[in-house]
Symmetry: none
Subunit: 193 residues, 4 copies
């Protein structure tokens, strides 16, 4: 059997990067195809749903990647507060290395498209939810009551997302590190750390 083309995953990954930098509407199919090196002729073969489908899959993929990173950090940290500190440091570094272009792979498109594409919005929602659920389950494991755990997890994720927004606007990642500190303290207090 002939080897399947890798045009599909390449397009998805290129899209994920472009979307978080400049959003959905500003990202043209041409740019995606050129960047990823994928052929133009077969785009609608791979993505019958067009640009919207591509964006949806890119958000899903980006959400998975972040979840993996969070999972790894959670596994390697003694407390959930420590995990949040490390995760924030990871994000701050990525922001700085990319000259403040790459922050969260979801938020930019989520805000822009929430009112315009339900499939994109749902992919964004699922991504956020998966991060919250992962963090909350760790908190539960650490002894936090289930209801409290969910709110705390949401709070941590929201704090980081909000910090990412302010950091990109100010071109300064300091706020990410600064806010991770009290958030981590709250988490550790809740888990009796």
């Amino acid at each position: 059997m002939p080897r399947r083309s890798d045009a599909r995953p390449r397009a998805i990954r290129a899209t994920s990067v472009l979307l978080q930098r400049q959003g959905y509407a500003a990202t043209g199919l041409e740019e995606i195809l050129t960047t990823s090196g994928a052929p133009k002729g077969s785009f609608y073969f791979h993505f019958p749903g067009g640009k919207e489908q591509l964006a949806t899959e890119a958000l899903t993929e980006g959400g998975h990647a972040v979840r993996e990173a969070l999972h790894a950090v959670l596994d390697g940290a003694a407390t959930s507060g420590e995990a949040v500190r490390r995760f924030a440091e990871l994000e701050a570094r990525q922001l700085e290395r990319s000259r403040f272009e790459r922050g969260c792979p979801i938020a930019t498109v989520a805000l822009e498209m929430a009112s315009r594409s339900d499939s994109v919005r749902r992919a964004a929602d699922a991504a956020f939810e998966s991060w919250v659920a992962l963090l909350a389950s760790r908190l539960v494991d650490d002894g936090v009551p289930r209801a409290d755990a969910r709110v705390l997890a949401q709070w941590a994720i929201a704090t980081l997302e909000g910090a990412l927004v302010l950091a990109r606007a100010s071109r300064d990642a300091a706020i990410i590190r600064a806010l991770a500190e009290p958030m981590a303290t709250v988490l550790d207090a809740a888990t009796g750390g």
Copy 2:
């Protein structure tokens, strides 16, 4: 002086609404002009810098409006924590009333344009900073040390911004109210409330 038209402020206000709903790239000049009822021919007379200038002014205007709202809430609340609760409630209501279309007038464009327009990015930064400064000054008035006050203010703003992102993705404003609670508690603890 020749007669003055109100096309300028009308265009700015219409732009502010459209930008937070769908972002910069997806918002056409035509749509702005139609919505605001402003004539097309004099657009570049009023905004020589084109769409970018218009967006910059819209962010500045949106930032002012939010600051006014925050100011009013701060004035009417006994504690800063109470003010955050009320402000969150305001945002949650607006989100629901607008069918989850109108959240923060800054964040959508800030994320989309941070890497693409410095003037837009700076306007976003200035808006966020003005909110943080306002809240921080209240905390200082309430006895919080200046350095702590700034971080707490940033945290509160970031929490709300992050909550707004998740709320639009999930089409559920509950998270805004849910996260305002612990954030307010932290603030009141800091001010000895």
Copy 3:
């Protein structure tokens, strides 16, 4: 290979006519597309360089056509002077038949765009040069020293180009025929005709 369209050559030919009548800036893409019947959707597929590329190709094509006409006249005339007379008559007739709209397919755009587009300028230069070279080579064949031949050929081309300018301004082709006469006499004297 997928099916081939004739939209490309059709657009080029229509452009050539429009450009000599009204120049580059006054000729809209829409007008070109309408005139030629070429579809708009594939315009930037056929001409990625846009209007400038189209104009460049139209000049090249127009230059070829004139060269062919000159070649034919040169082949059918006993002396080079006689060829110049006949060629001038051809141009005068075309001018009159087109109600003084179609003169030289190169000159209008050459003057307008020489300082604005190097690719267009070079196409114009190449066209003129090809005519000069063709006429000069005939003169050399007729016994004129190479250096003299080139100047004489340039003179003849310049005389006709200049006459075309004056003729369009005065809406009278008489000057073309009038100036061909002494120019032909000079050529025939040089070739010992």
Copy 4:
């Protein structure tokens, strides 16, 4: 009485320069007004006929200036052939000094607008005619029969105009000087020089 504004003549002169460089359609009113420093608001006070009137006057003015230059050269030269040599040198120098942007103030617009504006076309025609008449009258003074004189004068003007076209296309003024030589020789032969 208050001094009359000099906006009018300044606009005309600026237009003359811009028109020969880039033609009518490519020259915007804005550019003209900015270049000349004339205020925009009073443009239609000075030129009720709009852009077309301005261009017409610019051609007339440009035609006068060239006629003056030709007149001066004619006065200072022993033979009409010598005058043509010197006039050609003048034009070659101006072309080179302006980096091949300024050639003939009439030809560019004449070709572009002959079919589009009768008033512009007539101004161009009058300019050319005035040059021909001036040169022809000198030839008559030098003893050339009136009918021959007119053709010779047209030939000289056409040669220079044609040379100017080729020179701008090739970015090389050599052809102007090269063609002035045989043209001058013909003139001097006709006047018994």
